[in-house]
């Protein structure tokens, strides 16, 4: 099945969370929470800013939680016998999967994470012939996805995907230009302002932790007037992740980004809220975005770690139990 399905789901949850924060005076700017290296970094270096993070789990962890609940139920399989494997461009995902709190299915939601390199090794071990592989669809019920999910892989992609959905939910109008080009590309920090109804939504996108630090320092200083920030840990976003094939250099990153946007353009559906499998999972299992079941399975909290030890005066987790 496909993490892209839960990337679409992330957009539904995160988009709804964003709308709720904007309309009800929640903590802004809201910052994305998909990238586990980024999450560990902010927990260590900016534990005072954790309330800015979206409470959404990463697509990997949403998938893990659903595999041992929704999928198990659907297939009539005892979740104890499900072994959940994810293939990620990322080494930090191995750490994320082991986090104590990511066990909302009643089990460890994701059992093991392989990098792209490790998958390559396994396929070569059994002599897979790349050229003669038949084309197949991902399996249901978590296999359908949109172009909005594919672009999660490139820096700026989560923001673009979120805008495609948030705009249409809020204004009930089709988005005039689906391509949010100002947030694409390898520039370290990108900004855009978008008219959504009466509101000028100001967004920023950063990749690499070095660039993330610049935005976080602005937030700390009270100088960040953004509504929504996307941060990815690795240069270029996940396509340049620490688990990707070697070499991964600037030239290779640009080619993977080009492949990503090409895939988006070729897919018949490019907006997460138009994914019929997403509509169906809300109807059949989850209820509604931010609903009770979503809250339990798809959202999480963060742990103020500090660089060397937990800083004094901060709660054990954010949001604390009163809010979560």
């Amino acid at each position: 099945m496909d993490t892209d399905f839960t990337a679409d789901l992330t957009i539904m949850e995160e988009g709804t969370e964003f709308i709720k924060r904007v309309t009800s005076g929640g903590v802004l700017p809201m910052i994305t929470s998909c990238s586990p290296g980024w999450i560990k970094y902010i927990e260590m270096y900016y534990p005072d800013l954790l309330a800015h993070l979206s409470t959404c789990k990463s697509p990997q962890q949403m998938f893990g939680a659903l595999a041992k609940t929704f999928y198990a139920e659907k297939k009539g399989i005892d979740p104890a016998n499900i072994y959940s494997v994810s293939i990620m461009p990322c080494t930090a995902k191995k750490f994320e999967a082991q986090r104590d709190e990511l066990t909302d299915s009643g089990y460890q939601d994701v059992d093991v994470v392989l990098t792209t390199r490790e998958l390559g090794r396994m396929l070569r071990e059994i002599g897979v012939d790349w050229d003669s592989l038949p084309e197949e669809n991902y399996d249901d019920p978590m296999g359908l996805s949109t172009g909005a999910a594919v672009i999660f892989g490139a820096t700026g992609g989560v923001m673009e995907a979120a805008v495609r959905t948030v705009y249409e939910i809020l204004t009930k109008q089709p988005l005039p230009d689906i391509n949010l080009t100002p947030v694409r590309g390898m520039e370290g920090i990108k900004e855009a302002t978008l008219k959504v109804g009466d509101l000028d939504v100001k967004v920023a996108v950063a990749h690499t932790l070095g660039n993330a630090r610049k935005l976080l320092d602005k937030i700390r200083a009270g100088e960040a007037d953004y509504h929504f920030i996307e941060i990815m840990c690795c240069p270029g976003g996940c396509i340049g992740g620490g688990g990707q094939p070697i070499p991964t250099n600037l030239d290779v990153r640009l080619k993977r980004i080009a492949g990503t946007y090409k895939a988006d353009e070729e897919l018949p559906l490019r907006k997460s809220h138009e994914n019929p499998a997403i509509t169906a999972i809300y109807e059949q299992f989850l209820g509604e975005p931010l609903g009770e079941k979503s809250h339990k399975l798809l959202h999480t909290f963060y742990v103020p770690r500090g660089v060397y030890s937990k800083p004094e005066g901060l709660p054990d987790k954010v949001p604390s139990d009163d809010h979560h």
């Binding site: 892209d4 290296g37 016998n81 994470v113 392989l114 990098t115 998958l119 070095g210 070729e266």
Partner: protein, 265 residues
Amino acid sequence: MATVSLTIDNVKVEVEQGSTILEAAKQIGVNIPTLCYMKDINAIGACRICVVEVQGARALQAACVSPVAEGMVVKTNSAAVRASRKMTLELIQSNHPQECNTCQRNTNCELQALSEAMALGDIRFVRPAQSHSKDDIDNSSPSIVRDPRKCILCRRCVAVCEKVQGVKCISTMNRGFETVVAPPFNQSLNDVNCAMCGQCSLVCPTGAIVEVDDTGKVWRALDDANKHVVVQTAPAVRVAIAEEFGMEPGTLAQASWWQPSPPRL
């Protein structure tokens, strides 16, 4: 833009002032070999593989850190240059475990590729014991394994961690053969401020920093008839996995065939 003219391997070349010999040579299609250099991130002349002969200079110069000058005459492949590079490589190899066959980076290792290209042959210098042993391997982290035995001290990992990520969780310690790239006080990676991003594993020219290999766990689960294995693949994997099979980066492993269909739940 001020430019400088120089001669590299008998070819005249005009480059921007402030360029390095390495960059100038690249402009005329001369690829000087490097092990520690990374464009914009690590140009420190540490590995000495990129040495070139500069007419009138007292010693061979590291091309990655030597700026060009007007009228400079450079030879990138003289006998002295080739002998020096080969000796440097031989000395690096003399303190490197000769276990390429079983290394995760086998056939995708810059040190191995260079040794092959330079026809290194037998390594004449044998140390009674190498600087680091298997006991020094740090496998505390769920994400990354650090094996100081295979480290050639190029400092690319240090540079990417500090300059790109601003994390600075590893740096060089000690001197001479005892030199090691490690977290402060040689703590375990799992106990320090590592974000586990693995950018260090992407830039390592050898197998000194690699991902934790969990393929065995997955094979065991696949072989277990009682287990129902569920697999998900991330968005960024589909534009990269083809590279593991020698295809062009960005080749899509998904979906010209994607058909919208009624929800199939």
